[in-house]
Symmetry: C2
Subunit: 151 residues, 2 copies
């Protein structure tokens, strides 16, 4: 049962299961399309208008801190959020800014020498290009130049 599993993961993360917090988590679980904070706020209040903007932001921050949600910064656009259900990489569309999940696979870690005193916590792989919707009508400026020199 979904409701119960959300409650459990909130509590495992040291967070009370409040209606507003639950709603954010449920919305992210149901909408895997990486919504922005504004979209989450709207979506949640569409169902049950009981949450303020500040609360939505507060809860998102707490959820990220607790490791239950991933935040994806996108150049020049609002951040996207993502329930951490399964490990995956991200594809970001250069044209519309949408974020999509990509199949997960192991990424080689940096040579230990190059880390120095840094503490490594995460490695993530980000693919960029044009999503399925944008590929056909992709901006001509961006078009020509540098298709996959991608590494």
């Amino acid at each position: 049962m979904v409701a119960e599993s959300i409650r459990r993961s909130l509590e495992a993360g040291g967070l009370r299961c409040t209606p507003q917090r639950y709603a954010v988590m449920a919305f992210l679980t149901e909408h895997a399309r990486h919504p922005t904070a504004a979209e989450i706020f709207e979506g949640v209040n569409l169902v049950d208008p009981r949450s303020s903007r500040a609360t939505t932001y507060n809860n998102l921050r707490d959820l990220v801190k607790a490791g239950l949600v991933r935040e994806v910064a996108v150049e020049g656009r609002a951040a996207r959020f993502d329930a951490k259900i399964m490990r995956h990489h991200h594809f970001i569309c250069d044209r519309c800014g949408n974020v999509e999940d990509m199949e997960w696979y192991d990424v080689p870690r940096p040579a230990s020498g190059s880390l120095g005193k840094r503490v490594l916590r995460e490695c993530e792989l980000i693919f960029r290009g044009f999503c399925t919707k944008c590929a056909p009508r992709r901006a001509s400026r961006l078009d020509a130049a540098r298709r996959v020199d991608a590494g």
Copy 2:
């Protein structure tokens, strides 16, 4: 000669070498520490107060579009900019938000099936954790939990 090489790369990117544009490019070349737009604006005007904020943003956008500069979005903070001198990956500090360059190495591409109709243009690897300065005094909240499950 640096001046000449900047001029050349601007023109190769289809951009006139104006004093303001040159100044942005020169600043980025000399300051490899991934400054924000605001820092670039200040730094450039410290030397020669002739550039407006709008121009700095305009030029940064043009330089990114021309592929001469890389923009790095950082969660909850201003974007950072980076002259594309050599290929490299990025390390983002979870505590101070600073962006550092990491040695470049090949990243395995996604399985062709998982791309579908998407057009892949770039693959980038982002490391997260605590930078050299922050590692000793890293925030206790962030501390405990998930050190490198990192992939």
